[in-house]
Structures are given as C-alpha cells and as structure tokens.
C-alpha cells in the first residue's frame, strides 16, 4: 500500500516564500550557506516571472510599464 501523500506539499503550488525557506534550509544542510543571499535574489527574479506569467494568462500581450532600474544589490545571480 502506498503511503499517504504529504498534504502540505500537494494541496497547492509552493509559494516562493516557502520555496525560499526550503531551499535555504537545504543549502545550509548541504554545507552551502553562501547560497543564502543568492537564493533570495533568485526568489525575487522568480516572483517577477510568476507575476508576469499570471498577467499573461489573464491578458495575453497586454502592454506593461517600462522596466525599472537594475537592482543595486552586489549579489549578482546572472549566469
């Protein structure tokens, strides 16, 4: 018999706050605490992706506001 699935994992999509907490905890467990600020920066970027995607689903090709300046964070996460 299969075990019961963990309800908190499958009931809804993982929020980015939850994702960030899980990712940072995992990185610390794996001996990579230096990923903490990088993952926070990645979470910000992924939130923009999710927001833009949600807007696209509701109104495809709707015009958007012009881009803000780049962040002045020194934690660059671009490849």
């Amino acid at each position: 018999m299969l075990p019961e699935p963990e309800a908190d994992v499958i009931e809804s999509s993982l929020t980015l706050d939850e994702w960030l907490r899980l990712a940072q905890d995992s990185a610390k467990r794996r001996g990579l605490p230096e990923l903490t600020p990088l993952l926070a920066g990645l979470a910000e970027a992924l939130q923009k992706v999710r927001n833009a995607h949600a807007a696209l689903q509701q109104a495809p090709m709707a015009p958007a506001a012009e881009a803000p300046r780049l962040s002045t964070s020194t934690h660059s996460i671009e490849p």
Binding site: S26, H53, A64, A67, E78
Partner: protein
C-alpha cells in the same frame, strides 16, 4: 596590398591570397603560431595550442593546392575554437578542472564543417568556466586578459577567443553565445561578433550551457569575415548574392531601441553610440525610436531557463566533483539546482511573448540598433561598476542588452564604434529578422564604415 603582417590579415584577404598562391598556408599558420608564442602569456587566450597538427595540415593544404585541388572557402585560414567545441583527439576542457582528463572522440559538427572548408585549427581558447559567466575570471586555467589592458576582462564567456583575434593569434575564432558570450567579448575587444538565428548552426559536439539558448557564432575582424565564417558554419551562402541584393545605406530603415536599452549606459558608451547613429543618419539611413514592452521581465525569465538546463547537465558532476569547479561557478550551479520545473515552464512561455514583441518591433524596420554592452571592459575581479552614480553588478550589466535576443532567437551582430582617443572599444549591436541572418550581415556590412568611423582593428 602588403601593408599588414600576415597575422593581421582579414579572412577575406587571406583567402584570396591563399587561393592565388600569393601566400602559403604554412607561412600564414607559422605567423599566427609565432604570434601565439609571443603574445599568449600576456592575455592567456589559449588553453591548448595545436602547433604541430596545424603546421602539418597547412603543408598538406599547400600541397593540395599545388596539385590543382579546388580550394574551399576557408582553405588555409588559421583560426581557433572556444574550448567547448570538440576536436577529435584533443581535450575539450570547458576551462574546468572537472574535464581535465577529457579527450574528444569525434569532431563537433561545426569542426567538421570548418575542416571541410579548409580551415586550420590553431588551438582551443580559454573561456569562463563552462561558459557560465561573462568576464572570464572564473577559469580553471586562469583568467583571460583584455588585449589592450591586462588589468581588465576581455569579456566572456568567449573571452579567450576575442583576445586571440584582437592580438593576431589567428584570423578568427568560433565561440558560443547563450546570453551574449560571442557579442560581449567581441564588443569589449573591438571585434565583430555574430549570434545567428537560434538553431541555424548545429551545437552537436559542443558542451552545453542551456540547450534552449545556446548558439555557435564567429568572432572576426570584419562583417565580411563573419559572413564567410557563418556561411561555412551554417552551410549557406551569403556573399554570392551580395552584389544583387545589397541595400543602399539611404534605403535602410533602422529601429533604435530606447528606454530599457538606453537607460543604463556608461557615458563613453552613450556618447559613441550616439555619434554612430549620427553618422548613419547623415549617410541617409532612416532611424526612428522603438521600444519593447515587458522589458522588466527579460533578465528574470532568462534565469530559470539557463539555470534549469545547466542544473540538468551539471547535477551528476556536482555530486561527484564539486570541488573541481571554480568556487563562483560552483555556487551558481548549486543555486541552479533549486529552480522548480513550473518556473522553468513559465519562463519558456514568457520567452514566446518576447519573441513576438521583437518581431513586432522589426515589422517596419530592416533591423534594430542598440549598444552591445552598457560599459567598456571591466577591471578583473571587481563585481560591480559604477554607472550614473550607482554600483551595478558587472554580470547583470554585461548581459543586459544581449540576452534578450538569445531568448527571442533573433540574429544579432556587434561591430565596433569609432574609438575616442585612447578609449576602450565599444560595440554597436544590430538585430535582424528571424531566419534572415544573411540579410542582417548584408545590412551590417553596408553600415560598417559609418559605425566604425575608422578601424580599431589595424
């Protein structure tokens, strides 16, 4: 006609002299190898130099020509490859200690095409480890250095390729471009760099960074040379039709990208791109301003695509050889492993919208124009650079104006601007219609004298 030393010839000039036997492949190759021996220590452009094989092939090509063989389009042309591209029997290190024991067992498709066209491979060039960066400072073989100022980065990730061509260590080089890795170093080193339409040039036999966004493309001294190399790499013809289809400068309609694309520029870059636009206008080109919506999401959507795909490739290596990566590249790869599949797919959806928006911006234009990189060559090891009084991350800045066209798939080419007195090189980027890379090359060739003003390459 003999005003340049052999290692400074363009591909087009050298090909013409080789075909008419005014110069031998052996002499040309020897001149480039001599240059490597003299200048490579300054810039650390090469990881592997294939002197013996290159000279042997040059002699063989000379003998073929003497025996009446019909020369291929690159017959006897000595060039280099970024060390992500396989050459059978030679290590492909990807500038990483992770692959220090690797030896390729077959040629990449592009290697085969170059060899069939008669090219001579001088060696394999340094890069940002696994192409996962834009400065070349994270390499298992030490950083490549800028050809004019060794304190500075040549850009990346194909930085060794750019330094090699700029210093005469080969007439051209073949790089790869996932977010700008051909165009960024070409611009920072005063060269022409081409990223063709997505999918035009096969990437088989090339170590991947992002299988969705990776492109192969040439770094060269002129648009004509980039076109000759593109023909061979893509297996198509460009210049055969040139006399029939070449546009006139006063017939060109150019959309100049503004807002996001001009908001954040170093003064030197802004001034020199403005001057180039002024010269094009004075020559009769019609230039109007255009912009793209949704630019705020360009950099964010790039991340899950590249991170997700890089993690898929590197995951097993990180599990077994994590300490063989350079620390900064390892960190970013480890971070990449946390990207969720759902965010990866969302980014792919957004990418399709960007593609449609760039198509729309091009609808009434032959091409789009913008700076290639917002800054000149940065100092090695400095993570930020000041622009408009703000410290901005070098990596974000260098990718800002090139990565949109990896995501959209449009062909894009950088060519050098007229230099200020003692200034570092600045590139202007031209973006063409999808699946019309030859047309972009033709338009760029028409614009080249006005953008360059005077050559940086001599």
């Amino acid at each position: 006609m003999n005003d340049h030393p052999l290692h400074r010839l363009t591909v087009a000039t050298a090909a013409s002299r080789l075909a008419t036997r005014q110069v031998s492949a052996e002499a040309l190759t020897a001149a480039c190898l001599e240059r490597i021996a003299k200048a490579n220590d300054d810039v650390n452009a090469f990881i592997t130099v294939m002197s013996e094989g290159a000279l042997a092939r040059a002699k063989s090509l000379d003998a073929d020509l003497a025996a009446g063989a019909r020369p291929g389009p690159l017959h006897g042309i000595p060039l280099s490859l970024k060390d992500l591209i396989d050459v059978c029997g030679v290590p492909t290190t990807a500038a990483s200690r992770v692959r220090r024991d690797h030896v390729a067992t077959a040629d990449a498709v592009v290697t085969t095409r170059l060899l069939e066209a008669g090219a001579i491979i001088l060696g394999k060039c340094n890069l940002h480890e696994f192409a996962f960066g834009t400065t070349n400072e994270d390499s298992g073989f030490g950083p490549s250095r800028h050809p004019r100022d060794p304190r500075r980065s040549p850009g990346g990730s194909s930085g060794g390729s750019a330094a090699a061509v700029a210093r005469g260590m080969g007439l051209a080089s073949i790089g790869t471009d996932t977010g700008g890795s051909v165009r960024i170093p070409a611009a920072l080193c005063g060269l022409v760099g081409l990223k063709p339409t997505l999918g035009e040039i096969p990437t088989d036999g090339v170590v991947p960074l992002s299988t969705t966004l990776d492109h192969v493309g040439p770094l060269a001294r002129t648009v004509e040379d980039a076109g000759l190399l593109y023909e061979v790499l893509a297996g198509t013809r460009v210049w055969d039709e040139w006399p029939r289809v070449a546009p006139r400068i006063d017939s060109l309609k150019i959309g100049r990208l503004t807002s996001y694309f001009t908001d954040l520029l170093a003064d030197d870059v802004r001034m020199r791109v403005e001057a180039a636009v002024g010269r094009l206008r004075a020559a009769g080109a019609r230039i109007d301003e255009v912009t793209l919506p949704h630019t705020d999401v360009i950099a964010p959507m790039y991340l899950p695509v590249v991170f997700g795909e890089a993690a898929a490739y590197h995951g097993p290596l990180l599990d077994t050889r994590a300490h063989d990566y350079t620390p900064a590249v390892r960190q970013r790869l480890e971070m990449s492993r946390y990207v969720l599949a759902e965010d990866y797919v969302r980014a792919l959806h957004l990418r399709r919208r960007l593609q449609a928006e760039v198509d729309a911006a091009l609808a009434r234009h032959d091409m789009l124009l913008l700076p290639t990189v917002p800054i000149t060559a940065p100092i090695l090891g400095e993570p930020t650079v000041e622009v408009d009084g703000h410290a901005e991350p070098v990596r974000n800045l260098t990718l800002r104006l090139t990565q949109p066209f990896n995501l959209s798939g449009h062909p894009a080419l950088t060519l050098p601007c007229h230099p200020l007195e003692a200034g570092l090189p600045v590139g202007v980027q031209l973006v063409g219609h999808r699946h019309a890379t030859p047309r972009l090359l033709q338009c760029a060739r028409v614009c080249e004298p006005w953008i360059a003003g005077q050559t940086l390459r001599d």
